[in-house]
């Protein structure tokens, strides 16, 4: 197992190098002076000179690249063009919002998708199966921002069941410590605010979770159908085990494998989808920040966010692969 993990880690290195080259090139292929791209319109000759010095813009390209790499590795990911705030500090204040949102979406997708998939598999070919397949088709076909707008209109504005913007009731003036409001409110013993945070999470999670929900439903359905007729399942049944036990012990354990993989692959799509979802729900996360950055031509922010999102994607997939290897011993011998 250890060797497998090391191998997977080593395999990530060329990807990381490639990523850094790509992002290094990004700032430099932008039209115009990189000084403008990085400092914005409020630059002064002094600041430009300092930046040229810092990034080594007058040095040969490879030396500039080394500098970029060293800066990045030391955690210096640049600063905002607009309000001069350093990237990392700003990122960290927003990241918890995106984490809560993506986890909310995943919980929704898994919590609803797996039961739906199992149900559809049990009634394969029937009307319920058709309905579930239809819902999942709708889920992958509706853009998150359209779904978001509709959810806000129905459950927020018309029915007034759920809040439509932000992560927590602003009137509560809650002082977050970690930024993960679900945890912070619990630790502060504010159960009322915890409920409020959950309520704020519901609509955005549904909007963002719609695509993974659809995919997880399909995968679960397909893998359950596949294993249901395997010998060991039949054996288990013929042994007279209860249907529920067969389901949980034999069918789902195997169905989990493809579901895990899909979750890993969906991590990227979730982070991407968060960009649109956060915009619709005035959600203070990295996604909305990036959209603002794009509009303000805040290239350092765009560049560094792409870097971090890609890193997260790689890490999640590494974890998924390791989890996969744990679940499926065959992998290790390959």
């Amino acid at each position: 197992m250890g060797r497998y993990v090391v191998r997977r880690l080593l395999a990530a290195i060329p990807v990381l190098i490639g990523l850094s080259v790509l992002l290094f090139a990004y700032i430099r292929i932008l039209p115009g002076d990189p000084c403008v791209a990085i400092l914005g319109q409020k630059r002064t000759p002094e600041l430009c000179a300092a930046l040229r010095e810092n990034l080594g813009l007058d040095l040969p390209l490879w030396e500039q690249y080394i500098r970029y790499l060293l800066n990045t590795l030391s955690g210096d990911l640049g600063a905002s063009v607009v309000n001069s705030q350093p990237f990392m500090a700003e990122f960290l204040t927003r990241f918890p919002g995106t984490v809560e949102l993506t986890i909310g979406a995943l919980i929704f997708a898994l919590g609803v998708g797996i039961p739906l998939g199992r149900l559809a598999a049990r009634k394969v070919g029937g009307r319920i199966d058709g309905l579930i397949t239809g819902v999942s088709l709708f889920g992958v076909s509706i853009p998150v921002f359209v779904l978001g707008l509709v959810l806000v209109a129905i459950f927020g504005v018309i029915l007034e069941w759920l809040p439509t913007q932000g992560r927590i009731d602003a009137r509560a003036r809650f002082e977050a410590t970690s930024g993960l409001l679900l945890i912070d409110t619990l630790f502060a013993g504010r159960l009322d605010l915890f409920v409020d945070v959950v309520r704020h999470l519901i609509l955005p999670s549904i909007a963002l979770g719609s695509i993974p929900l659809a995919i997880i439903t399909r995968i679960t359905r397909a893998s359950v159908i596949e294993v249901v007729n395997e010998d060991y399942v039949r054996t288990a049944r013929s042994k007279g085990l209860k249907e529920k036990t067969v389901d949980n012990r034999h069918i789902m354990r195997n169905a989990w494998l493809p579901v895990t993989t899909v979750v890993g692959l969906q991590a990227g799509a979730l982070l991407g989808g968060a960009v649109l979802t956060e915009t619709v729900f005035v959600w203070n996360g990295v996604g909305r920040w990036v959209v603002d950055a794009i509009q303000n031509r805040d290239y350092p922010i765009v560049q560094s966010t792409i870097l971090i999102f890609a890193l997260i994607f790689l890490i999640v997939n590494l974890l998924v692969d390791i989890g996969y290897a744990l679940l499926n011993p065959k992998i290790r011998y390959q």
């Binding site: 060329p14 990807v15 490639g18 990523l19 790509l22 990004y26 292929i29 932008l30 039209p31 088709l137 709708f138 992958v140 076909s141 509706i142 853009p143 998150v144 921002f145 359209v146 707008l149 509709v150 806000v152 209109a153 504005v157 695509i211 995919i215 399909r218 995968i219 493809p258 993989t261 899909v262 692959l265 969906q266 990227g268 799509a269 982070l271 991407g272 989808g273 960009v275 649109l276 915009t279 990036v290 959209v291 794009i294 509009q295 031509r297 290239y299 765009v302 560049q303 966010t305 792409i306 999102f309 890609a310 994607f313 790689l314």
Partner: protein, 294 residues
């Protein structure tokens, strides 16, 4: 990349007579036919827009925010333009940009995948690591990055979407080619001394295209959604008058309370087009997969 998990490269094992077979099966696949119908609706709206649109999509020829009526099927927007006509022309943009982007992605991704899968070795690993880099960036974010760097506009939009899909195609084709390497007829061709290039082009590629076609169909659905998404973020066509669906949605959302039908009509158009390609893609996969032969 969203759907990459769903197409199995292994399904690339067809023999010659498969196509007729598949077409027959496709015709019997009701969801696929519904999909085809949705696509036909979408494509004819796009292609015939100049003929069937009742109004000039740029002309302000009604009063502001008219409700749907016989004169204006979908009502009018804030500027008094006919929404139905704009939706039709919007289909044109989605279709052209979507098909263009997927075609470019197919060519780039296909070429890279063919080289990687056909030749293997160091070329293969360089290409695969490169696709890994691109796949690690969420596709919409990659597209956003490209559009912000290149500036707004249709060609940029097309290219951005194409670049974000190409790696998936490359991986898929490579996977199929690898699976085919040990296929009997390939081994046979090799033993009679056919050149590597000849084997790749004559024997392997034609048989590896099936998953690519399925994937391309599914990706068209994603492309339509992503184009609208970029438009929604203000990264659509550079001329704001262009009737692009995502851009139109931005305008429509402020009337969500007073004129919700606008969002419904535009959103519905996106959903129907995407459903069409998703259904057809699924149908194609099923009918091309010999394992599902009854």
């Amino acid at each position: 990349m969203l759907r990459s998990a769903m197409v199995d490269p292994q399904l690339a094992l067809p023999q010659r007579g498969l196509w007729g077979d598949a077409a027959r099966r496709l015709r019997r696949n009701r969801p696929a036919m519904v999909g085809l119908f949705c696509i036909a609706l979408f494509a004819s709206a796009a292609i015939l827009a100049p003929l069937i649109a009742p109004y000039d999509p740029y002309a302000m020829n009604g009063s502001s925010l008219d409700a749907p009526s016989l004169t204006h099927l979908f009502g009018t927007d804030l500027l008094g333009r006919d929404i139905f006509s704009r939706v039709l022309y919007g289909a044109q943009i989605s279709l052209f940009v979507g098909v263009g982007a997927v075609a470019i992605a197919l060519v780039i991704g296909g070429a890279l995948g063919a080289i990687a899968g056909g030749f293997g070795g160091r070329v293969d690993s360089v290409i695969m690591r490169t696709t890994d880099v691109f796949l690690s960036i969420p596709s919409i974010l990659l597209a956003i990055g490209i559009v912000t760097a290149l500036g707004r506009g249709m060609p940029q939009l097309t290219l951005a979407i194409a670049v974000s899909y190409a790696p998936t195609f490359a991986r898929l084709l490579r996977g199929s080619l690898l699976a085919l390497r040990e296929a009997d007829y390939v081994v046979a061709a090799r033993t009679i001394g056919a050149s590597r290039l000849r084997i790749l082009i004559r024997h392997m590629l034609p048989n590896a295209l099936t998953p690519l076609i399925v994937q391309a169909t599914l990706v068209l659905a994603t492309a339509i959604i992503d184009i609208a998404g970029l438009g929604f973020l203000g990264l659509g066509p550079s001329d704001p008058r262009t009737p692009e669906w995502g851009t139109m949605l931005v305008d429509a959302r402020q009337f969500m309370q007073s004129a919700p039908h606008i969002v419904v009509f535009i959103g519905g158009s996106i959903v129907i087009s995407a459903i069409g390609f998703n259904l057809l893609g699924d149908g194609l996969r099923e009918s091309l997969d010999p394992k599902l032969k009854r």
